[in-house]
């Protein structure tokens, strides 16, 4: 399979995303520049990486959402193309309207950079097919605005349709307020769209994809995609 990793001015996890997909998962991976107006025909999955696109000016992802490449990403997603938004990429997906809700300031007002446990609550997605439902993975978060918010009706729809894919939990998969780093409703760490081709998540799988770092739980997501596209 082949990934396209979008590079915005201010992206800082783009190279990690490339490394995780190309070097760790062993798939083809190329960078896509924010000014590009075309996505190569053979791309299977686009990654919107973490960072501070356009300096996070105005709101996180608000300006990135109108960059030339994003018009192509939106069209790609609407045609069923697979898109993974990580951290700032998740924020950009909500700004673009490809995912519902938005990410507010962390309730603590702190920038949080630490490992978290995530309970995988849905493994019927392309992004989680190689992970067992209910299992727990450990990957890091690094954000100031990761507090997921949506209107109650929207939350109900996400829950009813199993569209919450990752929740902050303890290492045994217990989901409660004590293990909610940022104030997200229902401990939401990652959600997927209705069609199942656009996933946004605040934690960083690409940062734990190389076993040399002592943990490669994040690789499970890229391996899931590999299985899916096989």
């Amino acid at each position: 399979m082949k990934y396209g990793v979008v590079v915005f001015p201010g992206s800082n996890c783009d190279h990690d995303a490339w490394y995780a997909t190309a070097e760790c998962a062993g798939d083809e991976s190329v960078f896509l520049w924010h000014k590009d107006t075309e996505i190569p025909k053979d791309i299977d999955c686009i990654i919107l990486p973490g960072g501070f696109s356009y300096g996070d000016y105005l709101r996180c992802g608000a300006i990135a959402r109108f960059s030339p490449i994003m018009q192509e990403v939106i069209a790609f997603a609407n045609k069923g193309g697979y898109v993974l938004g990580i951290c700032n990429g998740f924020q950009t997906l909500t700004e673009a309207g490809l995912l519902p809700g938005t990410l507010l300031r962390n309730t603590s007002l702190n920038f949080i950079c630490k490992d978290v446990y995530l309970k995988v609550s849905n493994n019927s997605t392309a992004f989680t097919s190689a992970i067992e439902t209910g299992s727990v993975i450990r990957i890091p978060v690094a954000h100031g605005e990761g507090n997921y918010f949506a209107e109650p009706e929207q939350i109900e729809e996400l829950e009813n349709k199993q569209r919450v894919v990752f929740r902050y939990s303890d290492e045994n998969g217990n989901v409660n307020n004590d293990f909610n780093p940022n104030g997200s409703i229902n401990n939401i760490a990652g959600i997927i769209n209705n069609k199942g081709n656009v996933l946004g998540m605040m934690p960083h799988p690409e940062r734990y994809s190389d076993a040399l770092l002592g943990n490669d739980d994040g690789l499970k997501i890229f391996n899931s995609l590999k299985n899916f596209f096989r």
Partner: protein
Amino acid sequence: MNKYHAIIDITLRKSILDVQGKAVEQALNSIDFQMISNVRIGKHVELFVEAESPEKANDLVDDASKKLIANPIIEDYIITINEVK
């Protein structure tokens, strides 16, 4: 075409907890401003816009606010338009 000066004041919607406002309120309360409450922090945007009339200018700025300047999911905004002489 006339030139208008627009001010867009953006605040988090009332139903959303403004953690920044809360922190500032607590700080104020701790330095002898116990009479202060309900602190809300927002953004103040100013810009020039060319339009045929103040109403048209308001419509344009409203459209821009919905699309980019504010996030209607979480923010309210108030637009003030003044003609630039």
